[in-house]
C-alpha cells in the first residue's frame, strides 16, 4: 500500500521540475515539499549559523523550517508552494541571499 493507492488516486500527468539542476518528477497539485519527499529528499537547506540540514517540520506553514529557493526567489516555504512544470528548485544555504 502507498498513499496514492489508499485513496485510489488517478493523478493528472506527471511533470518535471529540477532540484539543483537534477530532474525530479512531480504530480499536479503537489507542493515543493511533497515532490521532494517522493524523490526521497528530506532536507533542502542549511541553517545560517551552524550550517545544519533542515526540511519539513510543521508541514502547515507555521515554522519556516522548510525554506527553499524557487525560481530564484529564496525563503519560500516548501510545504505551501505548489509546483508548476519547469520550476527550478535550489537548495538554500544560510539566508538564501549569499550567492
Amino acid at each position: 500500500m502507498n498513499p496514492l493507492d489508499l485513496v485510489r488516486a488517478e493523478p493528472g500527468p506527471a511533470f518535471t521540475v529540477t532540484l539543483d539542476g537534477r530532474e525530479v518528477e512531480a504530480l499536479p497539485g503537489q507542493t515543493v515539499a511533497a515532490a521532494l519527499w517522493t524523490a526521497g529528499v528530506t532536507s533542502w537547506r542549511t541553517t545560517r549559523g551552524e550550517g545544519r540540514p533542515r526540511g519539513i517540520f510543521c508541514g502547515i506553514g507555521v515554522c519556516f523550517d522548510c525554506l527553499v529557493t524557487v525560481n530564484d526567489r529564496p525563503n519560500q516555504r516548501a510545504c505551501l508552494v505548489p509546483l508548476r512544470p519547469g520550476d527550478a528548485i535550489r537548495t538554500q544555504e544560510g539566508t538564501g541571499h549569499d550567492e
Partner: protein, 466 residues
C-alpha cells in the same frame, strides 16, 4: 443600503459552520482562507490534480464534511457566500466606528495585497502543534505529528518508510493509524500519558460515549497494523548525522522522570512528534481582544470583548472538530442576529450549546490526562537547540535565567534571540518557557505572518468599496 456583511477568517470546521449559519440568515459572507480549498487542517483535501477517488480513506467524519462542502457550494453558486482561497490574512483593523478591514496576501509569491471590508469579523484561525524540544529534534526526518498527517492528506506523501509516533495527546492515534494505512511501518506509538487514566474521569467520558467508541476503533487499528504501544514512555533523543536514523525512548516514573535503566533504541527514518496543540491568537491580539493564557476569550455567544469581532474553534481553546462546529454555528447565529439589530435568543442554539458544554468538559479532562511529562526539561541538554530559527541552545536560555536574571519569555528573547526568527516564537515558545521555568503566555506579534514592506506601505490606501 446593502445587507450586512461578515468576513470569516479560516475555512476549517468553525469557519464553515459560522459561514453557513450566517449566510442562511441573510448575511453576506466572505470566507477567507489560505488553502486552495476549504476544510482547514482537519478536513485538509488532496490537491484536485492528484485525482483522489476515495479521499475519505484518510479522513474522519467524512459525511459531515460532505454536508459542509455541499452547502458551501450551494451558497457560493447563489452568490450569498464569496470564498476567497489562497488568501493569507496578516492583519485585521478597525476603520471608523463599525467597519473592519481584513488584510491578506495573495498571488503565487504572496506579494499581492487584498482587502476585505465587513461589518463583523469571525476569527476561526485554528491552532497548530506544540512540540517540546529534545536532543536531535532538529534532524530532518523529525516532523510534527500533525505535519506528517497534513503532508499525507494534502500531498499523498510519506516522509519515510519506518516511523515512530511519539509525544502525548489524542492526535497521535489518527496519525499512527493513518501513516500505517498509507503504507508506512509504524515501529512504535510512544505516549507519555496513559489513556487508561480516562477511566478515572468517568464523568467526562460518560458525557461523550462517541469518544469511547472512537478510542476503541483506534485501538483495534493499532493492533491490526501491529503497532507496538509504549505508554508512560517518552522520546529521550533522536539520532542521526544528516538525517534521522533512530530514536531512544525510555519509561517514565510516577513523577514524570525518565527511568535510566529503561532506555531502548528504535531504528526509524521518521519521528512524528507532538505534545498537544496551541491556538492561533495573533489576529485577535492585534485587534486588542482579551486573550486568557493562550486562548481568545469569548462569551456565550462566541463574542470577543472587541465589538464586531467573534471567535470560534481552536483559537478559543483546543477541543477538536465537533466543538469547533458547535462554536461556529453559535457564532454564525449570533452574528446574524446582532447585525440585524436584534438580541439573539440562546434557546435557538440550545443543542449546539449543550454540545459545546460537554466537549469543553471533555477536553479539559483530555488536557489533564495528556500533559507532557512533568520533568521533560531535564532531558534537554545544554547543547540542544531550542529555538530552531535562531539556533539558540538550551544552555543560553538557562544562562539568561541563572546569570542574567531573566524571568519571563520576553526577557529571555531579548537576551538570547530565542523567538526572534522567522516563526516569531510560535514553535519554540512552550519549550523556552519550560526550560526557563517561566509561564507560557500567548506571543504578541503585530502581524500574523511576514508582510512585504511594499504591501505594508500601501495598506489602507484603497477606497472603502465593499
Amino acid at each position: 443600503m446593502s445587507e450586512p456583511s461578515l468576513a470569516v477568517i479560516g475555512a476549517g470546521p468553525a469557519g464553515l459552520a459560522a459561514t453557513l449559519a450566517a449566510a442562511a440568515r441573510g448575511i453576506r459572507v466572505t470566507l477567507i482562507d489560505s488553502a486552495p480549498e476549504a476544510g482547514g487542517q482537519f478536513y485538509r483535501q488532496p490537491a484536485p490534480g492528484l485525482g483522489a477517488r476515495r479521499p475519505q480513506a484518510l479522513h474522519h467524519q467524512w459525511r459531515t464534511w460532505e454536508r459542509l462542502r455541499d452547502r458551501l457550494r450551494t451558497h457560493v453558486r447563489a452568490g450569498t457566500v464569496r470564498h476567497l482561497t489562497d488568501h493569507h490574512v496578516w492583519f485585521v483593523e478597525r476603520r471608523g466606528a463599525a467597519r473592519l478591514t481584513v488584510h491578506a496576501l495573495t498571488g503565487p509569491e504572496q506579494a499581492e495585497a487584498a482587502e476585505v471590508h465587513a461589518d463583523a469579523v469571525l476569527l476561526a484561525t485554528g491552532g497548530y502543534e506544540k512540540v517540546l524540544p529534545f536532543p536531535g529534534w532538529t534532524l530532518p526526518g523529525v516532523v510534527t505529528a500533525g505535519g506528517a498527517q497534513a503532508m499525507l492528506k494534502g500531498g499523498l506523501v510519506l516522509p519515510g518508510r519506518t516511523a515512530v509516533v511519539a509525544g502525548t495527546g489524542p492526535l497521535l492515534l489518527p496519525v499512527a493509524t493513518g501513516l500505517a494505512a498509507a503504507g508506512a511501518t509504524v515501529a512504535a506509538l510512544v505516549d507519555s500519558a496513559d489513556p487508561a487514566a480516562f477511566v478515572r474521569r468517568s464523568r467526562a467520558l460518560a458525557a461523550r460515549p462517541d469518544k469511547v467508541v472512537e478510542g476503541a476503533g483506534y485501538a483495534g487499528r493499532l493492533l491490526r497494523h501491529r503497532v507496538r504501544t509504549f505508554l508512560h514512555h517518552t522520546v529521550v533523543a533522536a539520532h542521526g548525522a544528516e538525517r534521522l536514523e533512530a530514536v531512544t525512548v525510555a519509561a517514565l516514573d510516577r513523577n514524570g522522570r525518565v527511568r535510566p535503566d529503561t532506555r531502548r533504541r528504535l531504528d526509524c527514518d521518521t519521528l512524528a512528534v507532538g505534545h498537544g496543540m496551541l491556538p492561533h491568537t495573533d489576529l485577535a491580539d492585534a485587534l486588542g481582544c482579551r486573550v486568557d493564557g493562550t486562548a481568545v476569550h469569548v462569551d456565550d455567544e462566541q463574542r470577543t470583548d472587541v465589538p464586531g469581532v467573534w471567535a470560534a474553534g481552536e483559537t478559543t481553546g483546543i477541543g477538536g472538530s465537533a466543538l469547533s462546529l458547535a462554536e461556529g454555528h453559535i457564532a454564525g447565529r449570533s452574528i446574524a442576529a446582532r447585525l440585524a439589530g436584534r438580541t439573539p435568543d440562546p434557546a435557538s442554539w440550545a443543542a449546539a450549546a449543550r454540545t459545546r458544554e460537554r466537549l469543553r468538559a471533555f477536553f479539559a479532562a483530555v488536557d489533564s490526562v495528556y500533559a507532557p511529562p512533568a520533568h521533560w526539561a531535564e532531558q534537554v541538554t545544554d547543547e540542544t537547540v531550542v529555538c530552531r530559527c535562531e539556533e539558540v541552545p538550551a544552555g543560553a536560555v538557562r544562562e539568561a535565567v541563572r546569570e542574567l536574571g531573566a524571568g519571563d519569555l520576553r526577557t529571555v528573547k531579548l537576551l538570547t534571540r530565542a523567538g526572534m526568527g522567522w516563526c516569531q516564537g510560535r514553535v519554540c515558545g512552550p519549550g523556552v518557557a519550560g526550560i526557563a521555568g517561566c509561564e507560557q503566555s500567548a506571543g504578541r506579534r503585530p502581524f500574523a505572518r511576514p508582510v512585504p514592506l511594499g504591501v505594508l506601505a500601501r495598506a489602507g490606501e484603497s477606497e472603502e468599496s465593499a
